[in-house]
């Protein structure tokens, strides 16, 4: 399991943006509040401070994307362009996408950069479509052991569903988000306090990009907040078990 923390993004610049959907929308905590290019092909440059090796987007609408890692003036290439197909899951590129909800998320690992650099993305959507994305975060990917076999995935439905007089139902479909819960066992004098104090205690209920991995190397990328205050058990001599519960944000 990984989390991008702390966020090292210092700014974003999009080549195209509709007036009501500026590129600054990529920096808030709301995937629904998108940057919208207004064209099917556009580029976004994400400026990142030193000390980062992962980037993630939420709320993306594109069929493919390409990433080139450049220096901070975008004059030199630090990592050659790699293209990704957003229409499916492709772990070969250490690229994780989850396209099963409206608010698609994906995660890309890249070579660790100790100095400030630019991530140059080329978005490509279907002809007539508009390339857009909701949130971007980049920073160090902090890794932890995978959750145990109690990992659960669910949904929270914000729809209004109410019985009518004849037994039928009035259904007003609204957003449905993903939830993940489980436990992770970490060495107390190590990752346990990184997880609890360096990340959760610092961020509280604010959302972060999590990459949740099971023992079969399936991955889920989700921009989520801790649904409730985390609780851990110091139930082994060197290890502690943390119960987590994450809910995707909108």
């Amino acid at each position: 399991m990984k989390v991008i923390y702390p966020d090292k993004v210092s700014g974003v610049t999009a080549a195209n943006a509709e007036a009501n959907y500026p590129d600054d929308n990529l920096l808030d905590n709301h995937p629904k509040k998108v940057w919208r290019s207004g064209v099917s092909k556009s580029s976004v440059t994400v400026s990142v401070n030193g000390g980062a090796n992962a980037v993630a987007f939420a709320g993306i609408d594109a069929v493919s994307i390409a990433l080139t890692v450049k220096n901070s003036s975008s004059t030199g290439i630090l990592e050659a362009k790699t293209s990704y197909d957003l229409k499916g899951i492709n772990t070969y590129y250490k690229f994780i996408t989850d396209t099963y909800t409206l608010y698609n998320s994906f995660w890309i690992d890249y070579t660790y950069q100790s100095i400030a650099h630019n991530l140059v993305f080329e978005f490509d959507n279907i002809s007539g479509g508009t390339a857009e994305a909701g949130v971007v975060r980049a920073g160090p990917a902090r890794g932890f052991y995978e959750p145990g076999f109690d990992l659960t995935e669910g949904m929270k439905d914000y729809s209004i569903i109410k019985e009518l007089n004849n037994g039928a139902f009035y259904i007003r479909k609204r957003d449905i988000v993903k939830t993940f819960a489980g436990s992770v066992e970490l060495e107390r004098d190590g990752d346990f306090y990184v997880f609890m104090r360096d990340v959760i205690l610092q961020e509280g209920g604010r959302p972060l990009f999590w990459r949740i991995t099971d023992y079969n190397n399936n991955d889920w990328t989700v921009f989520a907040r801790a649904d409730k205050t985390l609780k851990a058990k110091h139930n082994k001599r060197k290890y502690s078990s943390i119960d987590f519960s994450f809910i995707e944000v909108l």
Binding site: Y21, K33, R36, Y158, L164, G167, R172, L250
Partner: protein, 331 residues
Amino acid sequence: MLLVELNINGTTNYLSMDGQALIRYWDSKIVSFDSPQFSMEKKYGGFVKPVFGNISLFQDLFGNDWTPPTACQIAIRYNDNDAVTEESATTLFTGTAHLKKMDRTAIQYGLYTEVIGAGSTMPANTTYFDTPLKTVFSDAAVTLGLNLDTTLARSSNTEVDFMVTNEQELLSFLSDLSASISHLYYIYQGTLYLVDMFQDNGTTTITEFDYHPSIMEMEPSIIAAQTKQTGLLHSGLTYPYAKKTVVSLFVDEPPSVSLAVNHIWDTWNKPCYNLKMPFVYPLAVTPGMRIQFTDTSQIKDVSAYIRVRNISYNFDNEEIAIVGEGEITSG
């Protein structure tokens, strides 16, 4: 979807309950929105008054305008179809939001719309003798600067015999007066509509797909009134256990007094439905409208109708509550 335009210190902010990406992004900054209501002042008639309540907003909306301004211009719009554009949303309310309450989680503003009849009064010693109700309202409409529609007002037996002893706020006086003669009134787009409580202000029929399980209630009552000529007069003594309500009348002749008291009793003792419906807007519901429906969820089918008296729009649960008295029959 609820769309709110709030002007904070010269900047228009576009807000919604859960974030809507339309022509522009309507940010999810609304914590809650009290149900706007149209509520009849008395159980048997009077002014059907609009009340817009409060809107609560997240604090971070005011991050660059701290502390929150005392008053902001606000427009509230609604569209029941998420797929359509924001321009086609219907305007529910325009007016002023005035700072009401602030706590650690939210900023609450009270909503105020155009004030009609401010400062207009019915002067003391104004005397009416055998004056038709429509005439009283006609004079009042001129004072209020409103047009008057009496299409559905009663044409006979509405003569007013009364002297105003103390100066009274005009809308309040009209409310008491119209209720005592079993009328309601409401104001819509510059026109005051005077409607007989026993007339249908339009008719609509709904099916059981259109409303949620609802409650019928009855409240037995004895209506009493005292006038110079008749003394104390009662209606409804058939139910001696009922609660007695004393009403004020603006008539004095014995037949008129008897008729007024009986009409009030008739209204009061009818079955009253609290009909809860899914949010469909614009729902063409007006005070006095007749809503007909059947209810097959009872042990035997019921046919019913009500006349609309109170309307409440609950945006949080997307539900409309309509209250009115009517009749129920088997089948």
